[in-house]
Structures are given as C-alpha cells and as structure tokens.
C-alpha cells in the first residue's frame, strides 16, 4: 500500500513555502514590537485580493502582481503601526492592549475586505469569494507552476532577508533595536523607524503569501483567519526568538499537516482528514510543552552561532 503520493509532498512544500512567508513575519514582529500580531491574518487576505484585482480587472499574469501585493500590504501595515500601535506604545500601553489593537484592526479590515469583495463582484461581474485561480497556472515537468514559484519566492525571501538583516547597516540597526530599544536610541538609532521597517517587511511577505494563495487553494475574505493558527504554529515551532526558524517551522507543519494526515488517512481511515485543522494546534502544544524555545532555540544551533 502506498502511504502517500509524490504530489502530496509537492503540495506540502507549496504549503510550507506559503506558511514560511507568513510565519517569518509573525516572528519578526514579535521580536521587534513584542506583539503577537493578529492582523497578520488580514494582511494575507488583503495580499490575495490585491493580486486577484490585478488578475481579474487588468488581466495581469497571476505572478506579476506579487510585488504590488508586497507594497500595498506593507503600506497598510504602516498605517496600523503609525496610526494605532505607535501612539499606544508612546502611552506605555501593555502588550495585551497592543495585541487587542491588532485584533481590532484585523476585524475592521475584515469588514473592509467583505465590502470590497462585494463591490468588486458587482463591478466585474465575477465571483469574488471562494476564488481558485489554478487554471491560470503553467505546468512544468508535470507539476503546477505554483510549486516552483512559491518555493523560489520563499528561498529568495529567506536569502534576501538574511543579507538585509545580517549584512547591512539597516539590518544591524534592526537587530540592535530588537534587542535593546533604550540602548539603540542612545546610540542614535531611530527605533520607531526601525519598527516601521519591520512591519513593512513582515506584512509585505504576508501579502505575497496571500497573493500566491488562490493559485493553490481557495481565496475568500476569511482566508487569513483559517490560517492564523498555522502562522503562529510555524512561528512557535521555528522559535519565536529565531527569525529564520519560521522557514523550518513551515516545513515541519506542512509535512505534519498534509503528508502526516494523508498517511494516517491511508492507514486508519479517511475520517481522520476531518481533524487536519487540529494539527497546528497539536504541534504548537507539543512544542510549547517540550521545547518552548522551538527548533531555532535548541542548543544544537549554538555551535553555528558566532
């Protein structure tokens, strides 16, 4: 009996790539602003609808809109940061309050996206919910284009993020701000600006993940919400203190959720697939109980540190 087909692994790798793009932002924002950002869900959805608009209205290639989604969602996150979070931070609001503020922003954006989807449907006369765009994709070596594009985008994002953060002055300033904001201010770093940079990058990557989503799965106004547990899971499994851990966390969760569930379905019965959404929560619980620092926080990595 074949436990899983090769295409299942390909599906898992696509899912892993998208999760990594989302999760790395959750980790980045946690490290810089110390806030678990619930608005990340709507960042993903907004990215999806920005790209969908370009495809449906302007007939763009589905992959050409990725940079636009990155910028639009990045700018939207700057509004959240500078209009809502920064004034609260200046009043020395608690982390809990900041977290609730991100939730409130998410709910507001959810309402906006619902209204936008309805308006778009009226204007374009095309369905704007439960959108699937895989029919627009190309095929290479029997695999869908999203397989190659999602992995490439994630690898490029990881490498670019590494060089930007480890090798540039802004990256060093960002790491300095993450570690100690008072000291960063005292050496002249504008930490507010650095936090803005981190929000732009984190949200932009979530927007790109959202833009890729309808090429692989359904896009609707609650797409981000259905993935929020997975995003936090990726971030926690990878290690909240380790930026690059999210890329590993994405692979672990995707393999557990897609390949693991497929194997179990073949072994004990297809009824188990109904419990697939439980996998991120289960994995998150196991990691928090056994290794709270996540994979990136494990001692084995210390030898690779400077």
């Amino acid at each position: 009996m074949e436990l899983f087909a090769p295409i299942t692994v390909a599906q898992a790798l696509i899912y892993a790539s998208l999760l990594a793009l989302m999760g790395v932002g959750v980790t980045l924002l946690y490290k810089t602003t110390k806030v678990p950002n619930f608005a990340h869900a709507s960042f993903v959805t907004l990215g999806g609808y920005v790209n969908f608009t370009l495809i449906a209205d302007f007939h763009w290639n589905p992959y050409f809109g990725l940079p636009v989604s990155f910028v639009v969602v990045g700018v939207e996150s700057l509004l959240l940061f500078f209009l809502v979070l920064e004034p609260l931070r200046k009043k020395k609001s608690s982390i809990a309050l900041l977290m609730i503020a991100t939730l409130a922003w998410h709910i507001a954006l959810l309402g906006f996206l619902g209204a936008y989807a309805d308006s778009l449907q009226t204007y374009l006369r095309v369905p704007t919910r439960n959108v699937v765009l895989s029919h627009l994709d190309f095929t290479l070596a029997g695999l869908p284009g999203i397989f190659f594009v999602s992995i490439s985008v994630t690898v490029v994002a990881a490498v670019a993020l590494y060089f930007a953060i480890e090798r540039t002055t802004i990256g060093i300033a960002l790491r300095a701000s993450m570690e100690n904001q008072n000291l960063a201010e005292s050496v002249g770093i504008n930490t507010t600006r650095m936090l803005g940079v981190s929000w732009f990058l984190a949200a932009g990557l979530a927007g790109v993940a959202g833009a890729l989503l309808p090429m692989w799965s359904l896009l609707n106004t609650s797409s981000g919400d259905t993935l929020i547990a997975a995003m936090f899971c990726v971030s926690i499994v990878g290690g909240l203190e380790t930026l690059y851990g999210a890329f590993v966390g994405g692979v672990v969760l995707a393999l557990a959720q897609i390949v693991g569930t497929t194997v179990l379905a073949n072994v004990i019965g297809t009824w188990i697939t109904g419990y697939e959404p439980v996998v991120p929560l289960l994995l998150m619980s196991i990691v928090l109980m056994t290794n709270p620092k996540g994979i990136g926080g494990m001692k084995v990595w210390k030898r690779f540190k400077r």
């Binding site: 300033a173 300095a176 570690e179 100690n180 201010e185 002249g188 930490t191 540190k305 400077r306």
Partner: protein, 237 residues
C-alpha cells in the same frame, strides 16, 4: 557648557529628583556621588530622555534638550553609557562599534572605530566575537567604546565600574580621565568608587534622596568628613 536647572523628574507618578541643578563646563569631568537609591541613574536618564521630566530644563551648548527624544539628544553630541544592558549582546564587537559610528554620522566611521580601539586596545582581539561572550570588564570597555565612536562632546557614564575587579575598576576610571584630558570630552560620571572618582574629577556633586546636598571641588568634599561618613561610607574613601 552643560546645565541642568531646577530639575524635577521621575517615572510616571514616581517623583525622584527634586529641584536638582548641575553644571559641567566644557572639558570638565564632573562626578556625581551618592548612596544607593539616591537618584543618580535617574539624573542621567532624565538628561537623556529616558525618565519623565516634570519641570526644569536641560541645556547643552545653548540648546534646550529637555524632553527631546533620546536619538535626537544623541545627535546633539551627548553620549550615554548605561550601567546595565549597555551593549548589544547578540551583535559582534565589531557590529556594536560600526552601528554606533554609522548612526552618529561621523565623517569617517572607520577612523572613529579605530580611534576608540586605540583607547581600549584589548577589544581588538575580539572584534568578530559576539558581545555576550566577553568578560564583565571587556563588556564595560565595549560599552564605553560604543559611546566613544560617536565622538561625543559630552559623555554620561553610569557606574562604569559596577561589579568589576579592582584591576578593571582602576583601568576604567583612569581611561575615563584619559578620554576627558586627551580627547577633550566633557564627562558626567556617576560612580560608587568615591576615592578613584574624586582623583580624576574636577567637580563633585553629592546627591541624596533626590536632592543635591553638596557641590564643590573634590578636595572640598574630602574635607567634609560628616558627609563622607554619613552618605559615602568611610571605607570606600
């Protein structure tokens, strides 16, 4: 010239400093002494925008620094070496120095870093090491170097010898004196090691319970046996 006038400050509703006034002439090294909890660190935090100023003014070279953001104060030529959490422990020694020089927009950041390393040559051996692997004394050297590479006109040093061995204590305070003399950097030094600090200082203040109760030369303070015994501990002098 640096001048604090009638400063009242603290944190939120906690009022710590009461009508504190202090001056530091250009090129001077001023030491602020006082028992634990007297408000010495709050004084430096108030100068640098880390504490809440309720009233009073902080002026430096004719500019009002009161309530400016810390990074703005830094850009005016004021450097602050905090007592704790004064290095970026996850960055390398080299990155710690580079980022400070880059953010200060000094004309030649590389020269600024190499000049700082001439003051603390021991750090040259650890440039590629993460800062959290340094010893206590080396960390303090790095902390002062981070401030020094910005080529400040005024350095605020908060207990730079805290928790260090006698050997490092002497070295650090002597180096503060050297920076003051050779680089003409004005220094406000908060220190517990009274004897060593008074050796390099030109002027001394005694801060007790948030109020200045003495202002004068180190020799004048050394003549006030009652103050030394009551507030500074005769053993340390």
């Amino acid at each position: 010239m640096f001048e604090i006038s009638s400063l009242n400050s603290g944190y939120g509703k906690l009022h710590i400093l009461n009508d504190v006034s202090l001056t530091c002439d250009t090129g001077d090294l001023v030491v602020v002494l006082g028992p634990n909890g007297s408000g010495k660190t709050t004084l430096l935090n108030s100068i640098f925008g880390f504490a809440d100023v309720f009233s009073g003014t902080v002026r430096f070279d004719g500019e009002d620094l009161t309530r400016l953001a810390s990074n703005k104060i830094s850009s005016k030529g004021v450097g602050y070496t905090m007592q704790i959490y004064n290095i970026f422990s996850a960055l390398t020694v080299s990155e710690n120095l580079k980022i400070s020089a880059a953010m200060a927009h000094v004309p030649d950041p590389k020269k600024s870093v190499s000049d700082a390393l001439e003051i603390f040559p021991r750090l040259k051996n650890f440039l590629d090491r993460r800062a959290d692997t340094l010893s206590g004394g080396e960390r303090q050297m790095l902390a002062m170097s981070i401030t020094l590479v910005k080529r400040p006109k005024l350095m605020l040093l908060d207990e730079p010898t805290g928790g260090l061995s006698p050997l490092y204590t002497s070295k650090i305070i002597e180096t503060a004196g050297q920076i003051n003399r050779e680089l003409s950097v004005s220094i406000i030094l908060v220190e517990q090691n009274v004897k060593k600090a008074l050796e390099v200082a030109k002027k001394a203040y005694l801060l007790v319970s948030g109020k200045i109760i003495f202002e004068g030369s180190p020799s004048e303070l050394l003549g006030k046996e009652d103050l030394l015994r009551l507030y500074l501990g005769a053993m340390k002098v």
